[in-house]
Structures are given as C-alpha cells and as structure tokens.
Symmetry: D2
Subunit: 470 residues, 4 copies
Amino acid sequence: CREMNGKRFDNVALDILLTDLAKVNNSRDRANRLFQWLIHPVQDKSFFRDNWEKKPILIQRQNADYYKGLFSTAEFDRILRNDDVQYGVNLDVTSYTNGKRETHNPPGRALPYTVWDFYESGCSIRMLNPQAFSSTVWQVLSVLQEKFGSMAGANVYLTPPGTQGFAPHFDDIEAFVVQLEGRKHWRVYNPRCEDEVLSLVSSPNFSQDEIGEPVMDVVLEAGDLLYFPRGFVHQGDCLPDAHSLHITISSYQRNSWGDLMLKLMPAALEVAMEEDVEFRKGLPLDYLQYMGVQNSEKEDPRRDRFMAHIQGLMKKLVSFAPVDAAVDQKAKDFLHDCLPPLLTAEEKAGSVYGAPARWGDSEALDVAVELKSQTRIKLVRAGAARLCSDGDTVHLYYTTENSRVYHKEASKSFEMKTEHIDAMEFLIHSYPKFVSVASLPCETAEAKMSLAELLFEKGLIFTAEPLTAQ
Amino acid sequence: CREMNGKRFDNVALDILLTDLAKVNNSRDRANRLFQWLIHPVQDKSFFRDNWEKKPILIQRQNADYYKGLFSTAEFDRILRNDDVQYGVNLDVTSYTNGKRETHNPPGRALPYTVWDFYESGCSIRMLNPQAFSSTVWQVLSVLQEKFGSMAGANVYLTPPGTQGFAPHFDDIEAFVVQLEGRKHWRVYNPRCEDEVLSLVSSPNFSQDEIGEPVMDVVLEAGDLLYFPRGFVHQGDCLPDAHSLHITISSYQRNSWGDLMLKLMPAALEVAMEEDVEFRKGLPLDYLQYMGVQNSEKEDPRRDRFMAHIQGLMKKLVSFAPVDAAVDQKAKDFLHDCLPPLLTAEEKAGSVYGAPARWGDSEALDVAVELKSQTRIKLVRAGAARLCSDGDTVHLYYTTENSRVYHKEASKSFEMKTEHIDAMEFLIHSYPKFVSVASLPCETAEAKMSLAELLFEKGLIFTAEPLTAQ
Amino acid sequence: CREMNGKRFDNVALDILLTDLAKVNNSRDRANRLFQWLIHPVQDKSFFRDNWEKKPILIQRQNADYYKGLFSTAEFDRILRNDDVQYGVNLDVTSYTNGKRETHNPPGRALPYTVWDFYESGCSIRMLNPQAFSSTVWQVLSVLQEKFGSMAGANVYLTPPGTQGFAPHFDDIEAFVVQLEGRKHWRVYNPRCEDEVLSLVSSPNFSQDEIGEPVMDVVLEAGDLLYFPRGFVHQGDCLPDAHSLHITISSYQRNSWGDLMLKLMPAALEVAMEEDVEFRKGLPLDYLQYMGVQNSEKEDPRRDRFMAHIQGLMKKLVSFAPVDAAVDQKAKDFLHDCLPPLLTAEEKAGSVYGAPARWGDSEALDVAVELKSQTRIKLVRAGAARLCSDGDTVHLYYTTENSRVYHKEASKSFEMKTEHIDAMEFLIHSYPKFVSVASLPCETAEAKMSLAELLFEKGLIFTAEPLTAQ
Amino acid sequence: CREMNGKRFDNVALDILLTDLAKVNNSRDRANRLFQWLIHPVQDKSFFRDNWEKKPILIQRQNADYYKGLFSTAEFDRILRNDDVQYGVNLDVTSYTNGKRETHNPPGRALPYTVWDFYESGCSIRMLNPQAFSSTVWQVLSVLQEKFGSMAGANVYLTPPGTQGFAPHFDDIEAFVVQLEGRKHWRVYNPRCEDEVLSLVSSPNFSQDEIGEPVMDVVLEAGDLLYFPRGFVHQGDCLPDAHSLHITISSYQRNSWGDLMLKLMPAALEVAMEEDVEFRKGLPLDYLQYMGVQNSEKEDPRRDRFMAHIQGLMKKLVSFAPVDAAVDQKAKDFLHDCLPPLLTAEEKAGSVYGAPARWGDSEALDVAVELKSQTRIKLVRAGAARLCSDGDTVHLYYTTENSRVYHKEASKSFEMKTEHIDAMEFLIHSYPKFVSVASLPCETAEAKMSLAELLFEKGLIFTAEPLTAQ
C-alpha cells in the first residue's frame, strides 16, 4: 500500500520512494514529499503549527523497517573498511559513565579493528558527516535542504546495550532523531529559562541536577521519530537488551531573524549615512559630559534629548534597510553551506555530464554536439543557483560545485554580464518549466546562446532531451 | 586693552592669554575661553547656531598680530634645525601647477638646506603634526579638544608668493584656517551635491571644472580666520607679493551620530538576540523564494509580511540599545586620540611630577612624603580620565600617558577595583572642586588611600597644596 | 614468452607483471624489477653508468603494447567523466603556436564536453597528477620511489596531430618519457652551458634561437622510451598523421649532494659553535677595516690571515658535521613526499585492513582477535617507516597515511618510547624477514606487544598469517 | 697633569678629554684614545693580549673622580624628572634576597616619587639604555663602537647599601664595570665548563651552590674598573656603609667567528651549487638504506664512501666561500646596531646641519649656498658609511640616521649608482684626509657633484670650511 499523494507511505521502502521522487519534476515538491515521509503520519501543516520551534513530538510507528535503507550499522562497517574515516574528524568515540563525559579518539584512521574494540568496551560511536560517505544520506539531506531553506546536516550515533554516550545538553539546531536499529530511551526537558528558548548556541554538558524533570520520557523503537527544537535539553541511553543506531537530521543553525539582522543592520546604517545628512551631522559638543556609563544615573534633560534623538535615528534607519540585499548575504552563505545536488540518471543524460563528447578510436568524437536555439533547458534544481547583488555587480551563486564535505570548497559564483541578467532571472523564475534558448530575454541570439552554453558547461542546467549528433 | 571675561582680546598676545587661562580652575572653562579667542569677535552661541556644520565664515581683524605666538616660519626653521623632521612622515613638499598636483618628498630627514631649496623653487611645505614639535600648538590643541569632545588636530602650510600647493578638494573635518603670516587668496565652494554635505570622507583632487562657482572669494590677511565645514570644496593660492603661513585647526573627524550608531547597533542587536526570543525565532521556511534581489520586483503578499515583520523587529531594537555603553566605546576612542595635557607649573607642583622625592647627597631624600587623609585632590583635567564599562568590568581610561604623536602609545586604561568605582565616579563628578581623600566614598580608609595613591602615581590628580615634608 | 629474472619482458602485459611483483616479498626487489621493465632491454647497471644524470637515451621496441595498461586516453576520458578533475589544479590546456606558448584553462571542473572541444581545436592536454586518479599509475610510482629513494612523480600529455603544446625548456628532474599511444617527434639539446648541467631549477620557455642544434632528433612510437637528465632542453611535436599520448615519469627533484648539505651545514655549524671554543672566539677588532667588498682589492696581510683563519675553521667544520642527522632531515622530507603503498590482497589480509573484526547481526563480531606472542610480523614496505632523530627524541616517520595527492596530508610521525626504539630498529633491519613478536628486543613482554599492536593498528606491519578467531 | 699621548690621564676630567678628542681628526684615533682612558694605566696591547676574552682584570685607581662626568645618580634623578622613562622598557626594579631574584616593575612611567620609594625599600634600579637619555654616555659609546667594530651598549645599576639586586649569572658580552659612585663587592667565577667559555648566550640565574669558588673577590671603589669576558659568572653586592652606582659598558655580543660563518656558509653553498656540478649531482640511489640515525651503527663500506664524499665536498666548499660578501652581511647588521655619531660643533658647521640656508624676514635666505668643485670634503666618521654588495647591486649603508634607541629606525641604506661607486670607495679610503669634489674619480663633473650633494644632504660628509655665501 503506497500512495504518492502524501497520505500514506507505510510500506514504501526508501529506495522506492527515491525512485518515485526522481519522477517529480520540481525539486521543491520533492523536498515537500520527502519531508512528509519523514514525519508521516503527522501532517506538514500541523507540524509547523504545533511543534516546529515550539515543542517536542514523538512519532511511533510499530514499523521497524520504515526508515530502512537510509543507513545501517552494516553500511557503517563497510565505510570503515573502504573509506578514509579519521578519528576526531569524521568519527568520535565517547562515553558517559557515572556522570563523566569522555572522548577517546586516538589519532589516525578509524578501522574496524579498533572501532569495534571501542564499541565492545562500552563506548558510543558518533559519525560526524555520514553524507560524505553514504550517497543515500547525501541525497536525503540535499533534498531536505530545499524544504528548510537552511543547511540540513546529520550525525549518526551507535550505542552499545546498557550504555549512554553523552551528557544531558541542548543544541543550536532543530533535531529530528530517526531511529534506525534497536531502541533507545530518551528524556527531553524544557529549556531551563527564557534566555535558552530557541538558543542560538549549544550548551555545555549539564549534570543531572541542573536540568529538572523531563517533559518527555520515552523509548524510541526502530522506525520511530523524535523531534525537539533547539534549546530543549535531552539525553538518550540504551536499555540493557539492545543496541541503538539512530541518525539525527538537523537544520536551522543560525537561521533566525536576528541572524538576518546581523547582515541587515550594518548595511542599513551604511546606506543611511550615505543618503541622509542627519546621520552625518556631528554629535553634540558636550555629549561626553552627560552620556556614558559614568553619567548613567544623572538626571539631566540633555540625556533625555540625546536618547530621544538617537532613538529617532534608529527608527529612521528602518527606511534605509536594504532587506533584499541582506537576504542575498544570507542566501550566499546558505548556498555555500548546501550539499551539491545528486542528479538522477535522466537529469544527468540531459546535462553536461551526459554530453556525448568522448574519446573514441584514436580521436575525439561528438565534439560538435551543441545546444541549439530550439533546445529546451531548465535549472537542475530550484535552489541550485541564485542571482545576488554584490554592491554594483550581480553574481550568480551556485551549489553544483560544492563538496559533500562541509565548506571543503570555497563559495562558488561568477559575475553575470549585464546582457545576461534578465535572461538568468527569467530562467530562475521559469522553473520548473523548460524554456527554449530562443525564448531567453537577451538582446541578441549570441547572448542567449553564450548564457546557455555557460550554464550548461557549469552543470547548472539540463536539456529536455539529451544532446545528440544527428 | 584686554578683558578675560570673553568680550575683547584684541591686544592680548597668546602667551598672556595662556598665562591667564592657567588661573582658570576648570579645564572646560579654559576650553571655552580659548575657543572664544579663536573666533572672536563672533560669539560662541551664534557661531554654533549659524556656521558650525552649516556654512563658511570669514573673520577679518586688521590685526596681523592677533594670533602671534601660535606658530611662525621662524619657529618652523628652528624645528627643522633641532628636531628630527622626516619627509613624508612629518612634512610634505607639494606643488599644484597647470592643474597638476605633485608631491616631491625625498627620503630621510628634512633639513633647512633642502627644505628652503624646495621652497625657493616654488613648492609648498606642509607640516603634518606641529603639535609634536611646538609646545604652544600642543597646548592650544589639548585645550580645544575639551571644547570639541573630539580630537583637535592641526597642519601648518607655508606657501611661496605666486604659487598654489594643493588642488581643489574637500576634507572630512571642520576646518579653522588661522592666517599667521603674509596673505592668501581663498575660494570656498558649496558641497557639490546632497551626499557630500558633511561628508565623512575626504574627496580626491578635483579639476577646476568639477567644482562650480565659489560662494566665497576672499584674501585672508595675517590675524584673520576662515572657517568652513567638512564637505565644502576649497582652494587657496598666494598672491605674487607675499608668502603665506597658516595653521589649519581641525576637529570632528568621524564624530557623527552615524559613527556612534556604528558602535551602538551591533551592541543593540546582541542584547536583543540574548533577551528577546522574537529575534531568535527562525526565518520562514520559504523566505528565499520571494525575498532577495532576484525576487525584488515580484508582487507577493509574503514579501509585504516579511518586510513588515523585519521592520517591526528593527523598531523593537530601539528598546535594547545600550546607548551609554556605546558612548563609552566612542569615548575610549576619543581618549586614545587625545593629546596629553600640558600641566601648568602650579598643577605640576601639586602632582606626582612635583613631588619632592629626589636624590640628594648619596641618598634618596623626601621619600616618605605622602598623601594624607586630609589632602585635597582633583583630576588634572575634566576630560583626562573616564570610567567606561567593558562588559562585566569597569576600566578607567585616561589621556595623561598619551604621546604628542598620534597613537604612538597604545590606549591607556586599567581595571577599577569594585571598592574604588563609586569613589572614582565621585571624584570625576566633583571636578573642578578639590575633595579630601577622606571624603572619597570607599568603605575603608585603606581603600580611599590606595585609590588616591594610584591616581597620584599615574599623574591623574594633583593636590591643592604641594606635598611637603613637615 | 616471459621471464621474471630480468632478461625479457617483451610480451608481458603490465597487469601480469604487477601480479608477479606481488609475489616478490621484498619491496626493494619489486622496485628493481619494475625499473628494469621500464628501461628493458637496457640493463640497470649500464643505464646508471652511462645515462643517468649524464646523457639522453632512446629505447625503441617496435612493440606498441609494451606499456599497455599503464594509462590510456580512454582511461583519461573515464576519469574526466567520473572524477572531479579541475582545470588549473589537475589539468592544463596549452598551446604553442608560432613561437607563442599559451595556457587556456577556464575555471571549474574539466568535463569531456569542454576538454574534447579544446583538444579538437588543437590544444594539448596535460594531466598533472594521474596517480591521484589511476591506481595503476599510483602503484607503479609507489614502487619506483623505492628504487629512486626520491619521490617519483608523473604527468600525462595528450597532443592532437600536427600540433605542439609546449615551448623548448629544461626541467629540474630526471625524465622518463613513456610513449603510450600514437607517436611524437622529439628534439633534445645539450645543456646550454656548464651552469645548466644537472640544473636544480627549471628553465623559462626558450625561443628556438636560444637552444642551438639538437643532439637527438627522433620519433617516439608507442612502446618506446626516451630518457634525458635535468638540464637537457627538449621539445616534442606531433606529426600530422597521429595524435600522441605519453606519460613522463620523473624523479630526483632537489635530491643532490648540495641539497643534503643545505640540511647539513647549519647543523654542523651549530654543533661546532657549541663544542669548540674556536668558533665562539671574537672576530678581530679591526676586521671591518680590511675585509668586505669595499676592501676586497686591498693588499693587506691582515686579509690573508683572516682568510686563512676562516678557511681553517671551515675545514674544521667537517669534523662536527652530523651527517646521519642531516640524512634524517632529508629522509623525513622524502617520506612526506612519498605515495602511500598500495597493498596486495595478501598483504591486506595480514594487516589491520584485513582483520576480521566487523559488525554482524546486531553486534560487533571477532573483536577479540589479536596479535599473539608467536605472531610473525614484518613491515609493509622496506621504506614505509623510518626512525629519525629530532634533537633529543626519536620519531618514527611513515608513509602509510600519506595521500595520493601531493602533501595533502601533513607529514606523519609519532615519538617512539625509549623502550621500543631497539625493537623498532630490529624490525626495520629484519626486513624482508618475518619476526615473531616475542623476538622483539624489548625488556618486557608488555612492551613487545604494545609496540606490535601500535604498528599493526597504524597499518605499518602485516602478519605472516591473517589473524583469525580460533 | 695631563698628557694626550696615551700615558697619563689621572686628573683629566671627562669633559676635557672629550674636548681634546674633538680635535683629533680621525675617529679611529679618537676611539683608541677613549678606550685607553677607560683601561688606563693598563696598556691596550697587554689588555688585548692577556685579558680580552681570556680573564678578568681589576684596575684600582684610588681616584674617585676618574670617571667623573660620565654619569651620576643626580643625573639619573634629573632624567626621571624630565624624560619619559618607562618601567620595564627603560628601567627595571629588582631584588635578590635570600636567594630569590624578583622584578618589581609597575606599569607606566618611572617618576622620582615611586623610584626613590623602591630604592628606599632596598630595591636595585637598572637603567637599560642610558645612552638614550645621557648625551655623554651616547658620545662615549658611539666613539667606542669604532674601537670594537661591534655595538657598544651600556646599563646603569644603582644599588642601596647592604643589598644585592641580581643573582649570580653570566652574560653573552664582554663587560667593563665602571664604578661611578660608592663601592661594591664583586665576586667573579671561572666559566663552569668548557662549553660555557666565551658563551654566545646568557645564563639563567644560578644558585650559590652551582658556581663554585670565586677567582676574584674584590671591592670596587669609585674610579675603579672591573673587566670580565662573557661566560664568567659574577655577582655584586653593596656593603652596609655605602650605595653603589656603576655603568657596565658591553660589546661583542654575537660577534664571533661562528657568527660570521652563519652568514658565510649558506652563501658558500649557494655559490658552490651554482658553479660546481659536483654539488648538483644526485645522491646515491640507495643512500637512505645505509645512512641516517637508524643505520649509524652499521658496518658498511658504503657508509665510509658516503662520508668521505661529503667531507670532500665540505672541504671543497672553502674555495667558494664569498668571505667579503659575508663580512658585508655582518657589517650591515653592525651599522644598523650603531649609535649615530654625535658631531662636534666644528663638524656640524661644515655639514648639512650647519648650512646657512634659513628663514629670514619673510623669505628663505642663503638657499643658493652650495658645494663647489674645489670644496674639500670627508666622511663624518671612518665607520659612518660602508659600501656593501647585495647580490647584483651595491648599496651604501650608513649610521647617521640611526636612533639613540636600539633599532628604533630601520636599517638605512641606498643603492649606489654605478657611476658613483669608485668615487665612494675613494672617499672612504681617503679618510681621514679631506679631498676636493673635483678629485672624485667619476667620469663627469656632474657625477662628482651629484654624489657630493647626495652625501652632504644625508649628513654623511662635512666640508673643510663651512659653506658660505660670498
């Protein structure tokens, strides 16, 4: 029983789901569907109304296979064997015993011989960026990041029976705890005070007497999901009879209104100082005599006037705030944080990765196969490229050359020629529809083709039909 | 004919004025009087109402000796002879001929032999910080900085007859052109556009066709004063019959409301994000789809809601703004910029510089002479020390160990012990009255004495009577 | 027809050769055999006597398949398709037309679509570190580096028919040009002067009239080899009828006696100044009056005495030279430069990479399988680890954690405990023999086992028989 | 009774001596005479034969006024009062009580009020660079540096009766302890071992049981001198009945043959590698197998051959050593270390500092007074300027723009034009004779004059007669 229209996914294994998603032609729809699967049977609307950034929710499914295919300890073992997993970089060995939290990473590569020895002696194993090693995790996160409009990350936690690997603490991200194998006992606690609600920083490790009574005390079984907002204290431990493997999917790190204002306010002030002489006028000659901490308890009408004046300027600042430009600053950071998209076979066939140019029998073949005026193109993903202003110029920022390893590559962008900007905007807003090269709003046919060639060569677009030599 | 009560100074040579000022017991009064002398017969009130930051004013006096004693070419020659004046560091050789502005500094020390050769060949000579070489200039500026609450600087310009040394331009400071010798033809032009009114940056050199018609076209004679605000374009050239020596006294560089807000806004946002959860709440999931430059022409009700929300937060920011702490940041910069005070003989006698401890006949003498409980003390200057908050601690910032060379010394401060803070504030606010050590509001006599000793040893206070061994 | 005893390899495909090498139990023997294959039928002895660092040699084979399997344009096409090859980092596009040498790298990833377009328009393609993408090249170079005792590197060059990609120049390495496909016309020229013989730096591009007449003018066919020493000018161009693919294997970059002395001389002087007072004695009071360039043409007996004295000290320096420590400095650099070894299946089985510890059905299995006293061990390669002195301590430097990308990883080493040093030296000198853990010359059984465990966990040794759970 | 011809200076006060020295026309002679006065009645020749760098010597004079005028505690008190002496920068407060050595510097300026308080409580006062504050000390050191060909420095030590300020230690300089006031008990100890003889580094503080028995145990009275070489341990303490003031004049810090070789050896190796192919030849293929610390105990004939070969190359290096260029490197450091010369009134009159160009009555006067062809010139000091090679160019390094504060100014030099080099060398070697501008060996009269003008403007030469306007 599976329906793709959002209602039931109970028996849909992840690989079938991903195959179906590949047929959806809008990456934002893919993101919505995948997120719906993640929180099923809770509805997107009710989740974001009642839980998101508000309170924890436990989703129990009595279906140990619900998340099957996402990740497993067997795959983890394969990764250790075949890939260069480094202690302290990709993997942490931890323990929390008698109230003491310790890390046991030796230097060098983490191989099964030593990792399983740590596990056997009661240590927890945390894999820090499974998306760099598992294509499925990469794919799931790269789809979900379009749902969140904020980087989606993940950690995997493997815990031996009867042990706990971490002290109680809270994080700076929205957390989706996806139980993959075994079971785990979780306790979740309300934020300890107003200032820790939706905290923008992670906490230190707490002792048990600093955190109060749990508001949730549950056992997560394989196939279950636990969500809690940033700022909620939590701890999980394994029961004596079973190990636990879970993956925590996270998002919304430093993605608050205040974080946007950190970009916006300096820009607003810069504009105001350029455009409004009130901001350039001199301070009162005598302000240091009544303002400042040493004068803060003085009764002085000049203090009141000074306060009123600066508050007036602060309010006036609103009208100079370049909100869209500040959002672009935020967007640039996000595009740098993004995982690169994982293209489907069909998408690849229509992209530069599938172009037929190749080495044949002692010569280069199909080199002349090229885009044509009637070729229909679209962006590889709704969020794979974005026009952002950088002062006087416009740059296209994009995700396709990012690495699966966080910020291993520098932020990628290039300056847009003036003659290409409108067409680029047109292409972005046309998504998910294909549009012909000829339909791009450039002044000349050459400009249309040079933009299309540029985007094609960078892997930012694919064609409705694969390019062929006829 | 001279009166010290502000009305007439016509025949008061500068040294008599300074001698009289030394008898004024409040450094702020000294500053007011010296400034009044500078702009005499214009009144302080009318100057700040009509001219300051508004429009140029020319004050003609028909008294070539009015500013006598402030600086002269003869003193400049003495300085070249006796002090280490370096080309490019302390002195520039410039010319402006046929619309071309050039600098001719050789490397190394500027000696009369080469400087007068440059002058003779038609170059202008600019001395960059005469306060480092002339005690009178130092004294005048160190008094005036208390008037302005902002660093007072100076350049000296010597121009041969029939030449011009600089291209038309505007500066980022309020300028008082004090004609010392000879005469100079000046043309002043209105700011070229709204954005250059009260400009916070200096302009490049302009060509004659970029600046329009002058609003003032005058000849400054020795003893005259020309003031113009920042942003006003100006140029001066010598008539064929006379050289010119003037000193330009400047202030209010980056001392605008906007400059204060550059300190204030980040602090306000930091407080708001800590104290108000509204600033920590996440941005809308989909905001990148309708905000940002690429979406700025979209009609979308979500854009309006987003704009309204962020404007609401910006307004709310006002209530979190730590204005006094931001003023302290500004004050710290000012105290670092300040010239050190030049003490009068009487002030020196009551300070650590006049204490009788000395080397006598093979032994140290008068070492035991010390402050006593009944000793009456006051700050050396109203603005010589200031309590400023640095997060959790309170520091005393002070100017007495600054150098006559701009920022040659690091900013000077020390942390105030909690037990001393109230007493320090009391002492600052008691200025210009002397108060006894005993009257300081500390809990113990030891604390009173240790604060007084500390301030005395740092040269921050002087005593009503010189310390003696009785 | 193939014989492994060095005489004839004519029909031995590279994969068979490598399979045979895997059975050789000493990595130095493997290196000798692989090098013999490279220069076959020339003998190692005669090559190093007559050609190495002396003069070019051409080996023609009339066997286009001799180097088959090492690399091919088809493999290059596969790499472009599947791996992240970046223009300017991993690949250069060049041309040399009408005496002008140009580089045409665009930014970003090199995909077949653009690379073949460049090729088709007459550009040469240089792949900079094929060992990072081809396991066969990696393996061949990692074996050869043990022959040279110096890093072995490689570039691959693909040139279209009738074109030339590079200007005449000389390099700073010994070059083995291995023709893989097609043919290429080569001209080699003697070093232009004494100072360029065995040059330690590469030359700029030369024009044709700066290089004289070639001493060798030949056409290299697939299966042929051309060797020339550093300092020999060379240029290659394709005939109109065939493309060319060759790989240049290089070594001995900055591996001269002088390079060793750059490590040795400062160390020698440091020791001499510590141990011999003659080096600490003061210079003559008046030496500046007769020594130095301004005095170099003076006749002065003091000059002769000074010269004689310093020459005496220079000669004396010989007796303080810590040659072995300087060799260790050189060795450390080499071990950092090395490619990591590529283990055979059998070697892997006996190493930590083949240990049976694994994840089974919800639990960790075979965790207790461990080294025992009677387990026999040996280093993975003769040159994979080296004891070097660092002042007062002894470190083990090793190559096994290096990257296939040059210096991507920091130099790897760890400090040896005193109790392990003799045993480590014993293990190194025992190579290629297996020795039992029990036979290690440590004072205690615990020390023997802890050293063996450490080396095993780092992948530096393998066991005679794979570890099993009995 | 005084004779200037070296024999007796007993009653010559320092100011008379310096006046007489001013009449000596060769700065090297001045240096010899001043040094002779320092060690009188010991002869220069016997001192350098028997004591310098060999063993301590005490010179007792029974003449408390012998060094009068060099420095005094009264002058020290004046300096504290008038100059900006900073604790920790210019002055240290120390104590050595019950075997414990402490430093008591507060932050900020050292004023008599606090300094004499420290002194009174038993602390020693060390002034770190009295030459920056005392013109006499400056003059004495600037003359002596020409004797030593190495920087001459000084510290002043003031010690209260019955105290000791420093723990036993040795220094890295030749020390001349000049007793100025009071008396002090000194104990000097032989270097503790061979490696500390003429040590190039200073020692830590020793305890009394680490230093053995003194080889000298004396009381220094005012007018006495104590010399000891670097590496000799020493300690001084005041007797209960008198304070002590002494100045220690030091030289020969890092001025050994080994220090010159630190410049010479890398240069020698660079030349050898460029000029001799033997140094560019590759190391043996297998050298890492028998060389290095891990092989150092092997018996292997290849080791012997390797050693012999590298020793041969080390010996060969001698012939490539650019000794004069290395001396120039050393000379450049010395010229940067030098104190600037203090010109006599007569020297000043003939130099750029005495040129008559000046500001007169509203105009520049005597600007046209210039060097002429027949003007006779000489360097201001034998060691004030030096031609040094910098690879392909020749620079003139000079001391006249140095600061009295160590390395406050960057090293001063300028490139010599080719046409001036011979003339510059001629001028240097002509010292102390005056030569006419016309006699300079340049090709053109213009070149002669431009060199003379350049040197005159930089203050490097003076004329036989002051320049005048006739």
